[in-house]
Amino acid sequence: MTGAAQTQRKLLTVITEANLERDLTRELDALGVGGYTITDARGRGEQEARRSSWGHTGNIRVEVVCDTPLAEHLLGRLRDKYYEHYSIVMWVQDVEVLRPGKFR
């Protein structure tokens, strides 16, 4: 797209256990992201047997738009902190945004 004020950013999507929400958002705040969006989700993965699937607590789906270095940093940080013991899945995409200043 060629709209004047648009710039490339990264969109990091994280799917993880709902009970991590508080911890994860604190982590994101600490890492200096400009914002994030959370939706409730459910799903299936490979670790169902290990899940603390006490029925009512499903997954959350967290989206962060930020610049590439921060995205790299987040990815590494979240991997180190959560991969071993928690259900977590992450992916990264390119996005174009209007006000790049908003997304660090």
């Binding site: 256990e17 009970n19 911890d23 047997a49 290990r50 899940r51 603390s52 699937s53 006490w54 029925g55 009512h56 071993e84 013991h85 928690y86």
Partner: protein, 314 residues
């Protein structure tokens, strides 16, 4: 047999049956929260109203003994799981935290049982319920991690002490105590008259949840099933012992036995997941939800009553 079962337990069986048939009767999470909020407030308020009628004596001793009971049960459970069960240290600690702590749902069924049988109990019981929630969780984390600097104790204690169930129970107690029986009359239709009906809905849901966890046992084996069935009556006996020490009435003893024999499936799982993530959460939940909870409400509570009648000094 069925004649002696409290009708509300039939709702649990309906849920269990529907769940086994994979029928979709689950209530929306919002309703589950509404119903459990009402139950917690009701239990607290009932206790509070009674407290406002008759001043409690010897509270400090009761509190001390209750905390001791929580510690004792957790340590015993840990020893059994680690020794006889050969579970890893973290898993033993996590499961022990669940069994040293308590289940409010089981307590509510106990309260309904006493009401049906016309057995009074000490008004202070909801307070003891709250007290029993805490030490097992703290101890479970200690057993798993040692006195590790990395544990965020502030955060853990916050989560437990300011959790829904603790706050609603204590809040209810306080409101009941401040308002007294007359003051609460206008809200009695919601909080007291509907109590058993709401408990029935809650048990329907618990049956569905228990059914979802039944499958977990193929993975966790025979030891965990045995543990989940044998711990409740064993711990209930310990509870009766402590009740005798405290000089509780028959009703109080039945409730303390029910608490001791019950296993947490809300506060403990949440706390363990955060503070001891290496532990397998499914292990404790399957045991607590699919075996111990059904055992207690179907068989345990009447059993503990018999035991209390025999064992309590007259």
């Amino acid at each position: 047999m069925l004649g002696s079962i409290d009708p509300i337990v039939l709702f649990f069986l309906l849920g269990l049956g529907a769940g086994v048939l994979k029928a979709d009767l689950r209530l929306p999470p919002a309703i589950y929260e509404f119903v459990s909020t009402l139950l917690l407030l009701s239990i607290g308020m009932k206790g509070g109203v009674e407290l406002s009628r008759q001043p409690v004596t010897g509270l400090a001793v009761d509190i001390g003994l209750t905390l001791l009971l929580g510690v004792a049960l957790t340590l015993v459970a840990f020893a059994v799981l680690r020794g006889a069960g050969r579970l890893s240290r973290v898993d033993s600690a996590a499961v022990a935290a669940h069994y040293g702590s308590v289940s409010v749902g089981t307590f509510a069924v106990g309260v309904a049982y006493l009401a049906r049988e016309g057995i009074p109990a000490e008004p202070v019981m909801p307070l003891l319920l709250v007290l029993l929630e805490v030490p097992a969780i703290v101890l479970g984390i200690l057993l798993a991690r040692g006195v590790s600097a990395s544990t965020q104790w502030g955060e853990v204690l916050r989560e437990v002490l300011l959790g829904r169930s603790v706050l609603l129970l204590l809040g209810g107690l306080l409101i009941g105590w401040l308002a007294g029986p007359v003051g609460l009359e206008p809200v009695a239709p919601l909080f007291f008259d509907l109590f058993k009906g709401m408990l029935a809905i809650f048990l329907l849901e618990m049956g569905l949840i228990a059914a979802e966890h039944l499958g977990g046992f193929r993975r966790h084996g025979v030891f965990m099933v045995l543990f989940a069935i044998l711990t409740p009556p064993a711990f209930a006996l310990v509870g009766i012992g402590f009740a005798a020490l405290m000089g509780l009435s028959l009703g109080g003893a039945i409730l303390l036995a029910t608490l001791a024999g019950s296993a947490s499936y809300i506060a403990a799982p949440a706390a363990m997941r955060t503070a001891v993530p290496e532990a397998n959460p499914a292990l404790s939940l399957t045991a607590a939800l699919a075996v111990t909870f059904p055992f207690n409400i179907l068989v345990g509570i009447p059993l503990y009553r018999q035991a209390a009648q025999i064992l309590l000094p007259h």
